[in-house]
Symmetry: C2
Subunit: 353 residues, 2 copies
């Protein structure tokens, strides 16, 4: 039933040349005369030949594949990054394979498999911290690495300064007169070691400290990522005897939950409660949510480009690339004509150079 595969040998015979010549045509080697090339191309066309990546990979000792390691593809921020990566990789000639990681064991299983030139020539890791040993193994096996939203010694990585971002949010709220600032962020249940939420909290503390104040542990809630859990945590915070007047959420998704909690509790935003998120997802602009914007899509593009750069044998100019964060002060922190969800005042402040 299944039709016989057309191999390079069939093409060679049809074109009246040797297999080596066909291979040269396939790999666009200059060492082929135009006439021969045309004959071979005609034969390929006629037979409907598709070279086998498997055979080619085995023969070359490496597969022309790039692997992308991502956690939690449910998170919009991860998806945006991934989109940027795919955008670039898709026109690169490399195949792209996605590996989704949700647990330590899964991470290790995938990493072990990917540290092999037969599996991939390059790996892009998004938001997953890698150990020194991991990195060394990749290097030993000659597999290139490019990190996005996670750092690594001597490995090209593109990040933002989450701590500065947290400080930015903190300064904004403090500047608006808030003294009791709550924080809602992620608890790392996976054991993978995600640190961005924690760093953003540290940034908030920096801001408070620089104003002679300190972090109030009572106003911090950490839990699994998601709008629903964030709402519950916000409910909890707002039930306190002396509730916060502002809440900084570690992501826009969580900020949405906070917003929802405020409304359910009959609080007016931003008057009774100011809310600021992180990421600047589409929902943030839709709901006029104040947020710290980070270039998600661009981080993916950048990370992918840096991998390709290495694969072409060129040095990456700037091993650690820090992308810019920006405060988008919108209606959930700044009072405006139309109210929390209105089309009021919308300020964008450039963060730092």
């Amino acid at each position: 039933m299944e039709r016989q595969r057309v191999s390079i040998f069939d093409v060679a015979r049809a074109a009246g040349v040797g297999v080596a010549t066909v291979s040269r045509v396939l790999n666009s080697s200059p060492r082929v005369s135009p006439t021969t090339r045309a004959r071979v191309e005609a034969a390929i066309e006629e037979l409907g030949y598709h070279p086998s990546r498997l055979a080619s990979g085995l023969s070359k000792g490496r597969q022309d594949m790039i692997a992308v390691l991502v956690p939690f593809i449910t998170r919009p921020s991860v998806v945006s990054r991934l989109e940027g990566v795919i955008e670039v990789l898709d026109k690169s000639g490399y195949g792209t394979t996605l590996y989704s990681v949700a647990s330590l064991s899964q991470r290790d299983r995938h990493l072990e498999y990917l540290m092999d030139r037969h599996a991939s020539v390059g790996v892009i890791v998004i938001s997953i911290p890698l150990s020194r040993e991991h990195i060394a193994s990749f290097r030993a096996n000659g597999v290139q690495l490019s990190l996005i939203d996670t750092a690594g010694e001597d490995v090209p990585h593109v990040v933002v300064d989450d701590r500065v971002g947290g400080a930015l949010a903190g300064m904004h709220l403090i500047g608006l007169g808030h003294r009791r600032i709550g924080f809602i962020g992620d608890e790392d249940l996976s054991g993978l070691g995600f640190a961005s939420s924690y760093k953003r909290l540290t940034g908030l503390e920096d801001a408070l400290v620089s104003f002679g104040r300190s972090l109030d542990r009572e106003l911090i809630r950490l839990g699994p990522h998601g709008a629903t859990t964030a709402k519950e945590m916000a409910d909890d915070l707002l039930r306190l005897g002396n509730p916060p007047t502002a809440i900084f959420a570690a992501s826009d998704t969580q900020a949405l939950g906070v917003l929802r909690s405020a409304q359910a509790n009959g609080l007016k935003v931003p008057d009774d409660l100011a809310v600021i998120g992180f990421d600047n997802l589409e929902v943030a602009s839709i709901f006029n949510l104040s947020t710290i914007a980070q270039p998600l899509f661009e981080s993916g593009v950048e990370g992918a480009q840096r991998l390709l750069c290495q694969l072409e044998g060129r040095e990456v100019e700037q091993v650690k690339k820090v992308l810019r964060l920006e405060l988008h002060a919108r209606a959930t922190t700044i009072r405006s004509a139309v109210g929390p969800m209105g089309t009021g005042l919308q300020r964008q402040l450039s963060a730092y150079v």
Copy 2:
């Protein structure tokens, strides 16, 4: 620099057996004595040997890889489905590769590559319509196929009845007394032929017709998917001399845009404007948005399981599997104590068997 690859031959020598025996151990063939097996396993462990999928695939004439073809990974609904797929595939022993499709040419390029046992033994297609020829090609090449949210003759597919879903939404709104019902949906710019938005509109028409009414073309707006564009379309609709009293959005994302538009225009939901979406994403429950719920994650699980079923040589029991739709009537269509975003009345109606 790069260390030499450990091959099956090295293992064979270390264990004092032939390569065939090592291969048998790797493929857990019963034809190996326990003692020999133990010796080989020890050698594998000691040498840190990892078999090459490339070589194995080439030798077997097929790669143990499953490809997943998805459009627009930005859409939360697609991501949920994908999550379900990955959940199942990840513990299946097959490698999983993701191919993202945003245009016709990209679709064809990927399909052409994937119809090859050297690329994958099975393909899961999410939401992308396939032609009869595509399907025939897969079959001719012995590559198994499983479709999610898209149909195909004689190919296992899991879908929902979007038209019924549309009717469900329509009946709900009509039952609440609405006579001018607007629709906001997708325009298929990609040329890939996505039909769900259109089918949902047809369902709305069915509902109207069954009540002796008809679809008012003036109240229909189609545009690129997204909350922002949906808001603009809703603004447009609400500016009409005789604006709709209810809007059915083809997805929750778009419904969010509608909600935003209502608020910006000073309309109270659901009194001045009722809004219903589709999908039942997390945002829907957060914002108490009425919606037609479809089992997204489950569709992914189901689709993946059916592919695995075929790969094991078993027949899929039900080629066309229709998943259930449910009306979740929440605060954006039904008045309640707390208002549009309150924790008011929340009814769930089972749709159909």
